[in-house]
């Protein structure tokens, strides 16, 4: 039957690529949303020296935790946008009705969120780190830990975004749901940079961060897809 063949012509990978490309394209059309997260990170991180004084030793000791917590909060701020606009105009329901596995579709939306809100932080955080008097070795570890960590944050955060879809007062609720689940990522991510700054090997913390990322990569899309189905029932 040629008719059914026409609808099945797109392979799984092609569909997934299109979803990823579409999400990024749609988000880039509203650039202010994307850059707002980016600037939040820079502004919030700059507040800490103003609150604690400009002692370089204190700043470099605080830097790993300050930069990591700020990165975590800026990733969280944009979580509610992961599904909400597609949910509002009905696109999400159409995507969920497609014959491709929901888990992979969800994974693509998570990746799009990471590219737009996590990945930029990986590049800007070392620059902010310079302001905090971090050495080049620490800056490298900071970038590597953020590269892995922000992806894990997007993955775990997607569960919160899916659970709170279409609920009033979503912003604060997502924070309450997701922040406790972010703790291991924060501990290992900031732990790696802290280890580097006291001259210990950061490999242990980085490996554990990788383990958290691997687990999140397997389980978070499953939980997120289940939560989306509940929300769309």
């Amino acid at each position: 039957m040629p008719k059914t063949k026409l609808t099945q012509e797109l392979g799984t990978f092609s569909v997934l690529y299109r979803i990823l490309a579409r999400d990024i394209k749609v988000a880039l059309r509203r650039q202010s949303d994307v850059t707002a997260v980016f600037f939040f990170f820079i502004i919030a991180a700059s507040l800490f020296p103003l609150g604690s004084g400009a002692d370089p030793k204190l700043l470099s000791a605080m830097a790993p935790s300050v930069l990591w917590v700020t990165a975590l909060l800026s990733c969280m701020l944009s979580l509610s946008r992961m599904y909400s606009s597609d949910y509002a105009d009905g696109t999400l329901e159409q995507i969920m009705l497609s014959n491709q596995p929901t888990v992979l579709i969800v994974l693509m939306k998570i990746l799009a969120h990471w590219v737009l809100s996590g990945l930029p932080l990986v590049f800007v955080a070392p620059l902010i780190g310079l302001q905090f008097n971090l050495s080049s070795a620490e800056l490298q570890i900071l970038a590597v830990s953020l590269l892995m960590g922000t992806l894990a944050l997007s993955l775990i955060g997607s569960i919160g975004a899916a659970l709170t879809l279409g609920i009033r007062g979503t912003g604060v609720l997502i924070a309450i749901l997701v922040l406790p689940l972010y703790i291991p990522v924060l501990v290992f991510g900031a732990g790696a940079v802290n280890a580097a700054s006291i001259g210990m090997s950061p490999n242990g913390a980085l490996s554990l961060l990788g383990a958290v990322l691997a687990m999140a990569l397997v389980f978070a899309p499953l939980a997120s897809a289940a939560a989306l189905k509940i929300a769309l029932e």
Partner: protein
């Protein structure tokens, strides 16, 4: 569920329906209350009068008889809640969701009790109300997980969706509990170890262990009683018309 009603197998699911569970719970509650009161009074008697004074901590350590069982139950009830939540998602059984909903407040209460007694104990022993020790920190995070569960359930108006969404959250939290515990533990060793370690104290006297176990069983019966009362309220609240009809109220 129909084909399980055969005569050859015992009908395990008989009490899975709110209609049959409601009277059963009603019969169990008084016994649990009596048992809970008796055991907690006995446990407190052992703890406050029978157990010897600790040679290091003096009389102050006696809070352990409330603190440790409360900490056990804060974690146990979270896992139990997640189990009922998972059961609800798999079997789509309404009573399982109601059980999970009913367990949460008791679990959160024990978490709070463990935290408060812990800090009351910490002040005279460590000289500080709060120490960022791995146990204290993960107990605090457990409280956050309970709060997340409540908040999500309260935010969703549709009961059916609230049940399922909070069940997913409870399961995700349960998978995270061991990860959080170990991450906090390793975080703690990276920074600095706790100045005083409680559990490395010399082997506990048998009387103390006995007191703690009696208290734990008492807390268990208390939890069952309170949870069953709450489930009965939940049943009545959710389908008040059906309940009035079935129970002749």
């Amino acid at each position: 569920m129909k084909n399980l009603d055969t005569k050859t197998s015992i009908n395990w699911l008989k009490y899975a329906s709110p209609k049959t569970f409601y009277p059963l719970a009603g019969k169990l509650i008084p016994w649990c209350v009596i048992g809970a009161v008796g055991l907690i009074v006995y446990g407190l008697y052992i703890g406050l009068f029978v157990a010897p004074t600790d040679f290091q901590q003096g009389e102050g350590y006696r809070i352990i008889f409330v603190h440790v069982p409360a900490a056990w139950f804060s974690m146990f009830l979270y896992l139990l809640m997640a189990m009922y939540a998972g059961l609800g998602l798999v079997l789509n059984a309404r009573l399982s969701y109601m059980m999970a909903t009913a367990i949460a407040p008791t679990g959160a209460m024990f978490t709070l009790v463990a935290l408060v007694t812990g800090s009351l104990w910490g002040k005279p022993m460590w000289g500080a109300w709060w120490v960022w020790d791995a146990r204290l920190t993960s107990e605090l995070i457990l409280l956050f997980l309970y709060i997340g569960y409540f908040s999500l359930q309260a935010a969703i108006d549709d009961k059916n969706r609230a049940d399922k969404a909070s069940a997913v959250l409870a399961l995700v939290g349960a998978i995270n509990v061991p990860i959080i515990y170990f991450s906090v533990k390793w975080w703690n060793t990276l920074h600095q170890g706790a100045s005083v370690s409680l559990m490395k104290a010399p082997a506990m006297a048998t009387v103390m262990l006995k007191g703690m176990l009696v208290m734990a069983i008492g807390f268990w019966l208390y939890s069952i009683a309170v949870i069953l009362i709450r489930v009965r309220c939940e049943i009545l609240e959710r389908d008040s018309k059906a309940a009035m009809f079935n129970l002749g109220l």
